[in-house]
Amino acid sequence: MKGYAGNILRVDLTAGTTEVQPLSKEQVRDYVGGRGLAARILYDEVAPGTDPLGPDNLFILATGPLAGSRIAGSTRHITACKSPLTGGWGEANAAGRFGPMMKAAGFDAIVVKGQSEKPVYLYVTEGRAELRDASALWGQFIADARETILQQTHSQAEVAVIGPAGEEQCKFACVISENNRAAGRSGTGAVMGSKGLKAVAVFGEEKLRVHDPERLAQLRKEITQMCKEHPACQGFRQNGTAGGIGPHNAMGMYPAYNFKDGVSDEIDKVTGETMTSTILSRRDSCQGCPVACRRVVTIADGPFAVDSRYGGPEFETIGSLGTCVGIYDLKAIAKTNELCNKFGVDTINTGLAIAWAMECFERGIFTKEDTGGLELTWGNVDVVLKLIEDISFRRGLGALLAEGLKAASEKVGQGSEDFALQVKNQAFPVHMPRGKVGQGLSFATSNRGACHTQGMHDTNLEAGKTMPDIGFTDKFKGLSRTSTEHKGEAIALAQDLRAIQDSLIICRFTSWDYGPTPPAMLAEALTAITGEEFTSKDFMEIGARVFNLCRMFNVREGFDRQQDSLPARMAEKLPRGATSDSVITQQDLDRMLDEYYQFRGWSSRGIPTPQRLAQLGLTR
């Protein structure tokens, strides 16, 4: 099979065995790779009710047919499992070099089951795999563990590793490669920790087998050029994802103080532009990508000196561990970023958990007795740094916060559920649903809980972006970001697009609608790689299949319309700024959900109908 390594590595940690299984034609044709492949395996093999942190859950690493093609943005990999955070479909993906390296080592996916008695790591190279003792690595921070494993394996290997947060099974622990490429959401790192799996190291030199190398080379060149010329990509290069902070704040929708505000007076202290002119030391890129959106910062001394190996803060981290907790000091935020990467914990869930705890403290729900003496006041940097550690190691108040916001707020009660910014126990990314109403619907309906990467930013519709061949026709063009009109349909289409993008896998920033590469061009690239004909229409069909399969995974676990919800704060007006006129009431959400379910061919309870499942080939 061109475009694929052709094999899945099966690992049983209880038995201490590994086995090579050929990738089937059906898996490839219907699910492509990445998210699609992982979803099919997880649905088939993880029974409903399985303990996410028990031996019967699977931990999956997967990449897609574009990995190794050197198309801009094609280097991502996915981690998947039943999420210990949400209890449903769990997924997180990351950029970097792990994906292509895993394929070059001989595998499209690695599927791990069981639990090891003592800590181990997996080394995969030249189509073979070996479990190695990791007792000495257990407890080590991300970069230290990675360095040791590189010494023990191959200097050019890549390693997906967990830190203390994964070992302690913090529910939102992540899996990190290259020290700062975090597969951050859903707690996939906790599942590795529960299995006693410290890391997976991969090294290989197998080249991607391509059906039409000339056509692929041509497409690669065109895509690179498009990325170089695209204004958003140029913006990502210049100021990173944090370049979007100033514009979001100007539109009254860069969340601050646990989403109580959408405007920060001190925003200029923490924008991407400020980072560029102060602590930025390097722009980092993924193989073959001209965008170089990643940041590396240097702070050599002082209280916030950072280890540059852990990269620099992004849009999400500056919001979650900056403005949402009242910190307006880029050096302090860079330190929070370093700690999260060092301990292996998701910055978004961590920041929003601390923001919620601060609001509890402000309202008198928490006293110093509850916080172990910590003064949880807004902007208290020392407390934030301490809590990142306590969450990662599950100590004191940190142990409660490490359970996720839904769980913590239900335990604490006293109305704190209303300002726990979460869906399905996954914390809100720092996008303001009141300012991007369709994004609110994305948060509510995403299979992994509140997620900003699997739906659509209403601003892209407002800015007039269309793509008629995949359904984004003129009727969406210029729709206000705060309007509910047509958002049900737009979000369903966008989720299907993201599902195929995460199956290929291609980076959001290089592909439409964030970046330039249209789905039709990626379909052509997939055709050139595999020799099988693909069109953008096929892509949307596969995307719908993958999205519905993940939904069915959740339905089997008891999820329905009730879990497609938003916290009460979304119906409260913001105090100022260009989003202060907009709210999402339960009626607004219901209206969007009705349109969304209908467009998807689901029942009014949010369950895919048998007819729809049959159309998608999902009857088994």
Binding site: P231, A242, G244, M251, G252, T453, A463, G478, L479, S480
Partner: protein
């Protein structure tokens, strides 16, 4: 006069952060702004093929407006117009 402020990557693309402009409609203002900036930067404001304005966001006196809703609006002295680069996520 009307105060204009620019946000996001348009700042660098257009080579300015803010300026003051005469009144008129929003359309007049954008066209006048197109004259003010270097000719090679105009492409960020208007599509040279059809003259249509690009998809940026507008905030006038701290109220968000879609471009279509704003173009014919008459500006009055003291109005503050923010032109914001298209943004998505991080």
């Amino acid at each position: 006069m009307v105060t204009v402020k620019i946000f996001g990557y348009l700042t660098a693309a257009m080579g300015m952060r803010d300026c003051t402009m005469s009144c008129g409609t929003v359309r007049d203002l954008l066209e006048e702004l197109g004259e003010k900036i270097p000719s090679e930067a105009r492409v960020h404001l208007q599509d040279p093929k059809n003259g249509q304005f690009r998809g940026f966001h507008l905030v006038i006196n701290e109220k968000s407006l879609t471009l279509a809703a704003a173009l014919d609006r008459e500006l009055v002295p003291g109005d503050v117009v923010w032109i914001i680069s298209p943004v998505a996520g991080g």
